[in-house]
Homo-oligomer: 235 residues x 4
């Protein structure tokens, strides 16, 4: 079942080491079939070079394994929570890519400081509050999903316009309309995390960009009158 | 038409990912035929691995597409503005190379701190003022070109002696006598941006070089009595 | 003798340059046969590309060469001291991987700042006190082993839960249940050293993680109810 | 003439891009035949991928070309000055490797902070004073050699024990008993420059190592009772 989605999820998982975003097995990608209410996700702790489409695990939105011989990623409850809350997204990526993880460890949002950021993220990439002891001990991965959703709800953020988040003391999650776009955003996030880190270093801590420049760059790629790229093409 | 220039522009575009200067499609190179008053430029948002010489778009100095099936780079008006103002240049490169972009985001010129810089840039690499809201909203890419030209005019800079600029909160543009030399300068710029960043880190923020050393290094490569390299060769 | 262990030690040594952890010959891996009381270790100063399983040197726990034509690694007395004190470990790695070495040179422990760290190291990665003049001059490599053991004893650390140490002004040692796991920990250590360095840079020096998050992440991989990865698999 | 030395100098030059130390043509290696009083050096500004042994230029100790169709490296007078003053060296390397160049631009010596440094450099790697206007304008490359020699003479440094220097606002020179060892030292220098930079970042600027540890590490590799590596082998 879901052959095409499994292939897309496999390919997106394999793209992570290709882009230098993961060490060993530290990353996972999932995709959802909204029609079937089923999520396809990487199995937990399997080396990328051995993954096949048949290894992908199918789970329903209650987290029950519907198909697959392997245990799904331990982060599956986080993915499911995001699919439930962010209804327009089709793929999710989790990595520990080092520059983005450093911002998460510093518990700081990645500030929008330039057009590279504005081309894909319509404002700062937020960081969640730290989870409480109770949340961590009771249902850690589920609560990780919930605190991401809380972060977007409380700040009135649109997950389509800001397709990334940093989980405090942990690492980033990104998403997109499908698994491939979620990977694309993971690559961009790592790059803007590096640039923002170096900007702080160079400027001695002070830096900002004008809201109208952020707006312009985001809209020329994603607004209704977008004119970047070829008509009808993705990026 | 312009077969040779298209090949040169294609090759220069392909050199960008080879030198590690671009992620995905974030970069573009153009070249000009001064005789024909025509610019050849990369199409917008097309993956590098798929580009062919025939994909290159030919535009005139009013920005009208003269030949080509694809939409030209969205940065085309910036390129044209630079070709009009800087009459001796033959090729232009735009990238978001990370170290140079970090200086642009910090709104700081890259100071001339050593001979690596002085070998190619005869003084600091300037940063433009931020564009105004009006400029951004009215004709963003055109105004980006204008603010670069303004930066050189107001500071009395020679674009041949300083073949690079940082656009505030954006990223670098570099240029040269042809597309290949513009790429060469983009590579050098990223390297001197990294070195200058690390110099600040090591020195705690203070650093400078003597004007006569800057002068010597620039002149031994580019002055009328230049003696670096082989007689008649480029670099 | 010990054919299988020699192959494992060779493979682990070759993994060091593959993971970018060593320059030239600056690294060594050993493995122990607890049953035989014998250690297999890389010969000193031999280039990785020339190493064969037969080049591996067999030494007993008094440091005497039992088999092998080459001189064992000059760090052999350090390895032996660790095998004697940490009875459950089966492999040891020493590298000068640059980010971890920078922490060692700064004489600072690598603080546990995120889940990447917590997944493998159950707390800060400690740094030893500097050796005294007497220790350095009398029996340097042996005393290096002793000061590592002293560090773990005095702080009540379990070498299985924290399989790494920084030797002050020197570089890291890591270990594991076998040579391959020791290499795995060396790779993780370098990554968390980079992330922690960048976290300090971003946060301006302040950063911490909650003990219960550290606990959760370590236990979900290594506790008795671990649920990361596939049942029965290593990582 | 000097066929073997030309091959050694060619190979050493080709090793520079292989180790990631040079961009474009920014580096050069030479070797000397003490018996003949002749230096073999890379031609100026020729791309590495096109170099052959026959392109190497032979010059005498007055800087006159004795053999070769190409112009020798513009840094030839610096090399010659070092060969004259440092009588036991057989090869010299000049690069603009970025981390070492950043220290040179900061006009700071690279402090001996750990054993990676101590294994090859017996103390801080010194930085020259900036050249005067007169020195730069009169005989720049010759004076660069002279200020290096002055730095070693005034501080009582032994060029065999400290086979590297930073020229202020410029970049490093390293040397060794032959061209290959000079390259080896250039690689080590770049690595210790990176480590020292990161050590400053982590420690907030304060760091040091004990003189007796520096002494021990240097001597176990290079002293008369050296025991690192295999008997009779180089490193």
């Amino acid at each position: 079942m879901l052959r095409e989605l499994k292939e897309a999820v496999l390919e997106a998982n394999l793209a992570l080491p290709k882009h230098g975003l993961v060490t060993f097995t530290w990353g996972n990608v999932s995709g959802i079939s909204r029609q079937d209410g089923l999520v396809v996700i990487k199995p937990s702790g399997v080396a990328y070079e051995k993954l096949t489409a048949d290894d992908m695990v199918v789970v329903d939105l209650d987290g029950r394994v519907v198909e697959g011989d392997l245990r799904p990623s331990s982060d599956t409850p986080t993915h499911i929570e995001l699919y439930k809350a962010f209804e327009s997204i089709g793929g999710i990526v989790h990595t520990h890519s080092p520059a983005a993880a450093a911002w998460a460890q510093a518990r700081r949002p990645i500030p929008a400081l330039g057009t590279t950021h504005a081309d894909y993220f319509y404002g700062d990439v937020p960081v969640t509050r730290p989870l409480t002891k109770d949340e961590v001990e009771r249902a850690y991965e589920l609560e990780t999903g919930r605190v991401i959703v809380e972060t977007f709800r409380e700040r009135g953020l649109d997950p389509v316009a800001v397709p990334a988040v940093l989980v405090a003391n942990h690492a980033p999650f990104t998403w997109g309309k499908d698994p491939a776009e979620a990977v694309y955003h993971a690559v961009v996030l790592e790059m803007v995390a590096r640039m923002a880190r170096d900007t702080l270093l160079i400027s001695g801590g002070e830096a900002q960009m004008d809201a109208f420049l952020l707006d312009k760059h985001y809209q020329r790629k994603h607004g209704k009158n977008a004119y970047y790229g070829q008509p009808g093409a993705a990026h």
